[in-house]
Symmetry: C2
Subunit: 767 residues, 2 copies
């Protein structure tokens, strides 16, 4: 008798309603899902399959396929997102170079591929191969003479002009495609994905068109030379892949809760290919984007992330069998005293994070509220023009940001031909690569320092205006670039200080003359971690991603010191990272798991109806007519109504969803004879005793949720918030000694939290 | 007015009760904590400190110290557990060698240290240095002649005898110390730590004595040569450190919820030093042992794990600047076709896991229920004797298990002098180390294969009887040893097959003659991962730990394939891993987050009172006398009582803890005049109107929890289980239309789950 009575459970009623109206989806757009209900529906489905599987061999096979479908989806996500990442990398590489010139032997070769295949003789000449021609050279036959910036020859000016033209073309294409075909393809996508994973519905955000257009426009946007990265959008692309493959299996396509498990794993795969860091990707998904992350998802995310990483590796877009351009291995240890500059870089990262978030949010709010927002194409064109105009003269901003980061991270080996490695007495190749002692900086390094400083200011300013435009734009790469530039500058300064002042007390112990004690590349990496941490407030995942970018465990401590400092400094100015700020800006109903709610309010302070409000809209179990219900549905826009024994006793018996009620009455009016406007709707188990003259009553107990979630009016709000978070509720009823007093919805909770934090409660827009 | 009225919240009442009886702790031994209450108490404490911090500078400093105490505790845990791990490593090294001989130059040197300092001339002679003397040599002056096993000379027999004697001495000391000083120091500790972290109280389990005795006896137990490892117990040791440092800060010592956050991080530090894998440690804590793991804990765990790893590295117990003996770097890639043997190893691991768990649980149950359990010392002595007797003749079981694993993992380089690397045509050192082609096996390899097979059978059998004895014993190392032996055997077989059959279709594509295509060491590592996975059912953390033991990302796929297969095979025979099995065996109230509850039962089927039971013990809000309450407390052993408006209406108004009730009445009887047995206890806001002749009433509203957790009787049990898990409840009240029907405790839930899985519900012993 343990199994009796569950026909009335919340799970089953869906079957009845889903089948007659297959085209009506369970949740409306821009609404919040009910996690408990989704879970219970999935358990029901699972039970049905398990019990059927004993009936025949075919059913058994079907149940096995169902059990395996999760792994199949993960495999497909890994394969597709790895492939897309590889294609994007290759295309960006080619199109970035196309702005400067073309390969004569095969126009689809990028600069490096072109020169690599044409001559492999000497390493230094790699960049000057006859097959690769700049546009001016190709058109006029005259090679450009490399002159100081802003004084260029005719060929220089022509190249400059064509560079800007290509950039404008790319960005115009990008913004137009986004506007015409998939408006959701713009931005980084991570704020929205966080919101979706927390249980919000945004139809089409992860659709096929978004996937296609985002992939294409991402290539265009990155190639146009704007200060943006492909890492954040890759997470969006991977989640679109996840959503696409969900539709193959009804287990995932019909259950919003299960679908989100897949999306969490897809986000991990996205970060995995963006940074070549599968473990970091899983931790990113866990720490940063996911909301409900069952342990099963952890394992599957890891699988998807690995498949994606290996798919990308087999495509090998950079020709070095690494997954990212800026993979480095350092060989010299760091010293305790270096923690001081590392922590200073952390402080810089925190300040940058605060500045960026405040300025960017202010600019985005201006875009939302003023005329500016009405001309997105013009805005993109203008920013691209300014970016290209200012970027071209400086060699550090002209190239792609990934290449810049890669050069800044790299230690100066004997083979390095970069300006940054122009040290006096550059030893020849007779010495091993990883043991070059500290040396005085040559003129190239001083020149590079100036250019880097200009690049730093330029990047800081332009990134603020770029992030949030109507094109795909990630901010991992620009943030990392800012940090890497600052870090490299600090690194060179410390190195030169150590070289010139061997006798200072702080250098005496670890930096003998002729020793290789300071690695400026490591400073660049630490700076990049600090700036990224300041903007996103990632912690463990940041350190693990950076760890996977470097050789060994050795360098975790500097990275961690910088990440911790940067987070503390940035948190001191404001708790929200850039993604949470954008969520707030857009008014999404996101209940952050990390915000501690510490106020002393009670459920009674938050519930509605407030004092002086009209009483709560309720149904009674056996005295409401069909007409009453229809009026109530018409007059209100609530998502559901509590059902009470009677208006006098106010004793709660259940909760009925607006959608179920509408469908049930529509259905009954069409198919059930005798149901008219004056029919009594009853939710009790047995029909009420009515005179024979009355019209036939309508029994609706099957759509009644008999286990609505309740709290008492004295429950502290911190507990209520905890319950909403952990159980993923949409609404919760408030009672006192069994009497129904009111209702608290997720929106009420969010508004109350905003109010307590002195924010505008009306900014929470959706329910 | 939002802040009004919260004085009645559940959080505040504690302050009132805690202060007069400081020696009474909040929870009794072997009881479950209430996570929501702990959380709410901590928020209260935090609020108090925040509001006080505005009063004076001193209070501000105190509040800052409080905010930083979490990081301080983590730092201390990392330092102490890293140090202890280093000391344990050094001591085990020395004492393991002490069984065979002694260093003449300094008796506290282990064999390797002794020979390393005495001569560094040739690498081959390292094991044969004059300073290190075996016991027989020292006592008789005659060196042992190495003869085939079981035919030994006099010196051999003497060494054999002394080896057994030392082993017996060590294990006798270990078991005696455990029995006399700290009975909780036995076993691996992980099942109990899982239970404690899920919210159970076991006083003294993480105490100072346990820490001290476990550290000492762990060294003795490992040195005695028994088939056990130090990895699991290190987690226990680290958790003891965590508990120790909790007592320094009232924030952690007085709040069982906060304390568990620290313990989760300590577990991560423990695994970090056990395997030299900080990221793996954090994931182990997250996946395997922790229950509530807020994101803040993730970051702190990572910090503690890193500090512990760096402390251990600075101690450098193995002299190779690695954290574990069996760190390896492979240089040859693996090939797709090798996945077949890897998956076979996974199947072996799964079967081993099933066999081990079933056999070990059967044996432990026998120990619990028969006479066997009464002679733990004798049991340990007997098993040690048998182990030493059988282990000595075989060189692979004579040495410590870590060394064995290390040798099996290692690839045969040119410098390797091991029997396992005795290949024909061993090339000289002229070739680089990492490019030795596949070669035919020499007689040494065949000899080693036989000895390894014997060692495998021996380890499989003896580990079953060893794990669970009354000494500290981990099973990571024995499991890994079983897998490594099996893996190495398979690896050598594949290697020889590939060498002798280059023309077979499966080898043709990737294994040309003279190429180095099969790495037997990698097979050993894959086998170790598979066996460890089969026993513990770890997934992500297992792969990440193994990843941190090897050089690169390259080898994750084989490890993952084996881990997945092993988990699936083992899960097919039974869902529980060894730790869950031991939890079940001991009847701890552990609500596994991973078990899916899929039955169709409702809350009404589980709640008490059952049909035919006496009615629920309740208090009324204004009609119970002090005497009634005292009788109720005396007659029942419930942890708390629901309070209703009246017995007729049965409308619930709150829940009162047994302990609070007892204390409040005791307090009132002592201090409050006029409170006698016939005084009315009232829980309403205003005193009831009583005739003047009646004794003074006792107002107890302040100890009433006005927000007890309720569900309706129609709530599906899957939802109830979910709520218990996610919110960490102790009990939940069941109502129907506002009327109180019954109560469900955590024990009821566990019993119901056991019943549904056809297990004995009476095995759940604690509440």
């Amino acid at each position: 008798n343990v199994n009796k009575g569950s026909m009335n459970g919340a799970g089953n009623l869906m079957d009845f309603l889903d089948e007659p109206f297959p085209d009506v989806s369970t949740y409306e757009d821009f609404h919040t899902i009910d996690w408990l209900r989704e879970k219970s529906r999935d358990t029901d489905r699972h039970r049905k399959i398990t019990s059927k599987s004993k009936e025949s061999l075919w059913e058994l096979i079907k149940s096995l396929l169902d059990a395996w479908s999760g792994w199949v989806v993960m495999l497909l996500i890994g394969l597709l997102s790895g492939t897309l990442a590889g294609v994007i990398d290759l295309a960006v590489d080619w199109m970035t170079d196309l702005k400067e010139g073309v390969c004569l032997s095969a126009f689809w070769y990028s600069h490096e591929q072109c020169c690599w295949t044409s001559n492999e003789t000497t390493f230094d000449d790699r960049d000057k191969c006859p097959q690769w021609q700049k546009w001016a050279e190709l058109m006029t036959g005259h090679a450009e003479v490399e002159l100081p910036a802003f004084t260029g020859s005719g060929a220089y000016v022509l190249n400059y002009f064509l560079y800007i033209l290509w950039a404008l073309l790319f960005s115009f294409l990008a913004v137009s495609l986004v506007r015409v075909f998939a408006p959701y393809a713009c931005g980084s996508g991570i704020p929205e994905i966080k919101t979706i994973l927390s249980g919000f519905i945004i139809r089409g955000y992860l659709g096929k068109w978004t996937l296609l257009i985002k992939t294409v426009t991402l290539v265009l946007a990155v190639s146009s030379g704007l200060s943006l990265g492909k890492e954040g959008p890759l997470v969006h692309v991977a989640c679109c892949c996840g959503n696409l493959f969900c539709s193959l299996f009804s287990k995932y396509s019909k259950n919003e809760g299960k679908r989100r498990e897949v999306l969490s794993a897809a986000a991990a795969a996205g970060v995995s290919v963006a940074f070549g860091a599968p473990i970091g990707g899983v931790l990113f998904s866990l720490e940063e984007v996911s909301y409900y992350f069952p342990l099963k998802t952890l394992w599957r995310s890891f699988f998807a992330a690995l498949v994606a990483a290996f798919t990308l590796r087999s495509i090998n877009p950079f020709g070095n069998s690494r997954l990212v351009l800026f993979y480095v291995e350092y060989h010299t240890p760091w010293y305790m005293a270096e923690l001081v500059p590392f922590i200073l870089l952390g402080v810089f990262g925190g300040l940058w994070g605060t500045l960026f978030i405040r300025a960017n949010i202010a600019w985005c709010r201006r875009r939302k509220t003023t005329q500016l927002g009405k001309y997105p194409v013009l805005e993109v064109i203008a920013v691209t023009g300014i970016t290209a105009l200012l970027a071209y003269p400086n060699p550090y901003t002209r190239r792609s940001t990934s290449e810049l980061i890669s050069e800044l991270f790299n230690d100066c080996g004997a083979l390095e031909s970069s300006q940054l490695c122009d040290y006096v007495n550059n030893p020849n190749m007779s010495r091993p690569v990883d043991d070059i002692p500290d040396r005085p900086a040559g003129p190239g390094v001083y020149n590079a320092l100036w250019q880097l400083t200009l690049a730093l200011i330029f990047k800081i300013v332009i990134t603020i205006f770029t992030f949030g435009m109507k094109i795909p734009s990630g901010l991992f790469i620009p943030s990392m670039a800012v940090g890497a530039i600052a870090g490299r500058i600090v690194g060179i300064a410390v190195e030169q200080m150590a070289y010139h002042h061997h006798d200072w007390i702080i250098f005496k112990n670890w930096c003998r003359p002729g020793a290789d004690c300071v690695t400026p590349g490591l400073y660049a990496m630490v700076g990049a971690a600090a700036c990224l941490g300041g903007v996103t407030r990632m912690t463990v995942s940041l350190v693990v991603i950076m760890f996977e970018l470097t050789g060994g465990l050795e360098y975790i401590v500097p990275l961690m010191a910088a990440a911790v400092t940067s987070k503390w400094v940035a948190d001191a100015f404001g708790k929200e990272g850039i993604y949470e700020s954008h969520i707030l800006l857009n008014g999404y109903p996101y209940l952050d798991v990390r915000d501690e709610f510490t106020h002393r309010t009670l459920a009674t302070d938050v519930m509605r109806p407030r004092r002086n409000d009209p009483p709560l809209a309720v149904l009674t179990q056996d005295s409401t007519t069909v007409e009453d219900v229809e009026t109530l549905i018409k007059d209100t826009d609530y998502n559901g109504f509590p059902v009470v024994v009677s208006r006098e006793s106010e004793r709660l018996i259940g909760f009925v969803q607006r959608r179920d009620l509408t469908l049930a009455i529509k259905n009954a009016r069409q198919k059930q004879d005798g149901v008219v406007s004056s029919s009594v709707v009853y939710f009790t188990e047995d029909a009420p005793q009515l005179p024979a003259s009355n019209p036939q009553p309508l029994k609706l107990r099957r759509i009644l949720n008999l286990s609505p979630f309740t709290v008492t009016d004295h429950t502290p709000m911190e507990t209520v918030v905890d319950i909403f978070r952990k159980l993923g509720l949409r609404q919760c009823l408030v009672t006192r000694s069994g009497r129904l007093l009111g209702i608290i919805t997720k929106k009420d909770v969010l508004r109350h939290m905003a109010q307590m934090m002195n924010q505008d409660p009306e900014s929470i827009m959706f329910n």
